[in-house]
């Protein structure tokens, strides 16, 4: 008998993996693949589906009817994302820096308050902000009048020029707690010795933050960025609850999510078109995939090398 004993097949690994693998395959991977598959088919005679290759994608990207709507939604979605990147994440970082400093008192209270909107229902957030900004009963006019700016009050959500930006700000207000908590966790994790050493060397608070703390939380910056990207390109609910599926005025707040919803399920007299809906979902998937891959290869890998 061979003295080298073969290791028995590690059945326990299979057992532990099984629930997650099964549930994810059944409820995430299978629907995703089936939806991508549907985008490659066209409706044939009598409700059958006929394989059509990339015809639907070509239609979506080139036809006079689909392409302008698609590019409008993509453009709006990038604006929505840009506002989150330029406003939400810097504010989240700023708040985290304040809350991690030992000078500020009552940080637990602030942390909870700032995070509260994140756990509220989007429908509620949309409703509250509609009321705040309402030209009829909103407080935005009184608020501006207090600073002598009353005449600048506008029906913000009803103007093509401002609706999307204002909705982005509402979303920022709601979700700023998430980057704040992630940054805060990273900042708290920085060893005190590093900061004390820098202090001894005569670094100011400003220098300590930008030269010591910020480089050390760069991995979190990347994670926050990619989470924002994925979240924004999947966004739908805020626009739908405040502006409806037609994402008015004149589609100025139409993002990928609302475009998809309207196409897939139909709207009012417009019949639903599941196949083109699946095609739009395919484009959304590709955009998100591209963003995540850029993050993985362009950011995360470089970071790992930096750590050596």
């Amino acid at each position: 008998m061979n003295s080298k004993r073969r290791k028995p097949f590690p059945i326990h690994i299979v057992v532990f993996l099984a629930p997650a693998v099964l549930i994810y395959t059944l409820f995430m991977i299978y629907p995703l693949i089936d939806s991508l598959r549907l985008g490659l088919y066209q409706a044939g005679e009598g409700g059958t589906e006929v394989f059509a290759g990339f015809t639907n994608y070509r239609t979506l990207l080139t036809s006079n009817i689909w392409a302008p709507t698609l590019w409008n939604a993509v453009k709006n979605n990038f604006i929505f994302f840009a506002v989150h990147m330029l406003v939400q994440n810097p504010i989240g970082l700023f708040l985290a820096a304040l809350l991690s400093s030992r000078v500020v008192r009552g940080t637990a209270v602030y942390r909870t308050l700032i995070f509260t909107p994140t756990v509220l229902s989007v429908v509620l957030i949309g409703f509250i902000w509609r009321l705040i900004l309402s030209p009829l009963w909103g407080i935005s006019k009184d608020f501006l009048s207090f600073f002598g700016l009353g005449q600048f009050n506008q029906p913000w959500l009803g103007l093509e020029s401002s609706a999307l930006i204002v909705l982005s700000f509402i979303s920022v207000w709601q979700y700023v707690g998430i980057p704040m908590l992630l940054f805060l966790a990273a900042l708290i994790g920085i060893p005190d010795e590093l900061i004390e050493a820098a202090r001894v060397d005569g670094a100011t608070g400003w220098n300590v933050f930008w030269r010591i703390k910020f480089p050390l939380i760069l991995p979190t910056v990347g994670i926050v960025a990619v989470l924002t990207f994925v979240g924004n390109f999947n966004a739908f609910d805020l626009i739908y609850t405040t502006q409806g599926a037609l994402a008015g005025p004149n589609f100025s707040t139409d993002i990928m999510g609302t475009f998809f919803f309207r196409t897939f399920f139909g709207f009012q007299l417009q019949p639903g078109n599941p196949i083109m809906g699946a095609t739009i979902a395919g484009v959304m998937f590709l955009i998100i995939l591209t963003g995540v891959l850029l993050y993985l290869f362009g950011w995360q890998r470089r970071l790992q090398r930096l750590e050596f």
Partner: protein, 414 residues
């Protein structure tokens, strides 16, 4: 405690064969839940105590999508509330709605009443018509008497009246917003438009291709709509439908462009007398046209296991009793049956009286023209009408936009 459990179990076991006669109604009219539960269904149960009926509405904006998913999954209710024209026609063609040709009582409805729920060749009717809604204007009588103004008979008088309310400055002259877009098209364009495109003549002309949205009548309708702009409430671009409803019922506005369904919503809320006038035609035009829109009907889900009970319910809905009940319990929804009905609500009475004075038509985009999923005529009209009121499109541009979009797929318009 234990005996109660046993009793419950017994009720469930023994009672279930009786409860098999349960009907569920799918509907978008969640505002009417109370009236169905407390008045209409009990009235039905007086004659048919064995059939339990549950009214299970969905939010109006989600109804079509939710219903489609439920039908596909086989979980939809036994009775389906039918949207007019293509939405229901498609459900019938897909086999979700049963043909009702042989339903006793269908002869209580005129061909016009049935036209919204019939196949293109007229061979199958698939929903029992329930009601139509009429467009017009509601006004606050207190404001009118305070300012010493009267119902306008012509479009010119209407504009002068709006100017007077605006000059006074106390009340919003015209209470409507464009935020939800559909009010601009439905209570605006489709409300005043028939006077300009001559009702059925214009509407059928669009369908057979003899006129287009860029022809005189429809452009004139957009031009008339654009004249509302100075009189709409402040910040109307961000005013939603419920905002406008509240503004009017709180007595802060003078005139509300309405669908007759608003009467039932407003009655319990207002503490002033409401009046109504029909869309005023331009001076010198003798014939007036109103939108008397076939709006709501009820059909049978072919997948229902209670076909017989469902048909019994529908048959009861063709009777004068139901027509009377429905019209008077839901003022503003007018029965489509031929039964002579005594309308009790004075404002609703005013609306229904226009049927005798004017030519009637339905909304221009509902039959056939909104069949296309990619370029949808109804959605285009919402967008264009809202933009005309927001001042981002001129009437001519709006008309050209709607027409060019329709021409992309509708052969008679090419």
């Amino acid at each position: 405690m234990k005996s109660r459990m046993v009793f419950l179990l017994l009720v469930i076991l023994v009672g279930s064969p009786v409860l098999a006669q349960q009907l569920t109604i799918e509907s978008w009219r969640n505002d009417d839940l109370g009236i169905w539960r407390d008045i209409i269904i009990p009235a039905f149960n007086e004659q048919y105590p064995d059939i339990e009926v549950v009214f299970a509405p969905t939010a109006p904006a989600e109804y079509n999508a939710v219903l489609a998913s439920k039908l596909q999954a086989g979980t939809a209710g036994d009775l389906i509330t039918c949207r007019p024209f293509d939405n229901s026609l498609n459900l019938f063609l897909e086999g979700h709605l049963a043909s009702l040709n042989d339903l006793p009582g269908m002869d209580n409805f005129s061909d016009v009443a049935k036209s919204a729920w019939i196949t293109d060749d007229g061979s199958d009717v698939f929903c029992v018509p329930m009601a139509s809604v009429i467009h017009g204007f509601l006004y606050n009588q207190d404001v009118f008497s305070e300012l010493g103004i009267e119902e306008p008979a012509t479009w010119e008088e209407f504009l002068a009246l709006l100017e007077a309310v605006k000059a006074d400055g106390t009340y919003a002259p015209l209470v409507m917003g464009t935020n939800d877009q559909w009010e601009a098209a439905t209570m605006g364009f489709q409300n005043i438009g028939p006077n300009y495109w001559e009702g059925e003549e214009g509407r059928l002309g669009l369908i057979d291709g003899s006129v287009g949205y860029d022809d005189a009548g429809f452009v004139a309708a957009f031009e008339a709509l654009a004249e509302w702009q100075p009189y709409l409430t402040d910040g109307y671009q961000a005013v939603a439908y419920p905002d406008a409803q509240n503004l009017f019922t709180l007595g802060l506005g003078a005139i509300y462009p309405a669908g007759s369904w608003d009467i039932g919503t407003f009655n319990p809320q207002v503490d002033f007398e409401m009046g109504a006038f029909r869309p005023p035609p331009p001076a010198g035009q003798d014939t007036c046209y109103i939108s008397d829109h076939t709006d709501i009907a009820l059909g049978v889900n072919t997948a229902s296991s209670n076909q017989e009970a469902a048909r019994t319910f529908l048959e009861w809905m063709t009777t004068a009793e139901f027509a009377e009940l429905y019209t008077n319990q839901l003022p503003g929804f007018f029965t489509l049956s031929n039964h002579p009905i005594n309308v009790e609500d004075p404002v609703a009475q005013e609306f229904i009286s226009w049927r005798g004075e004017c030519e009637t038509t339905i909304r221009s985009s509902y039959q056939i023209l909104s069949r296309n999923a990619e370029v949808n005529n109804e959605n285009d009209l919402w967008n264009a009408s809202a933009q005309v009121l927001n001042g981002t499109l001129t009437p001519q541009e709006a008309a050209d936009f709607v027409q060019s979009r329709l021409a992309t797929w509708y052969a008679p318009q090419q």
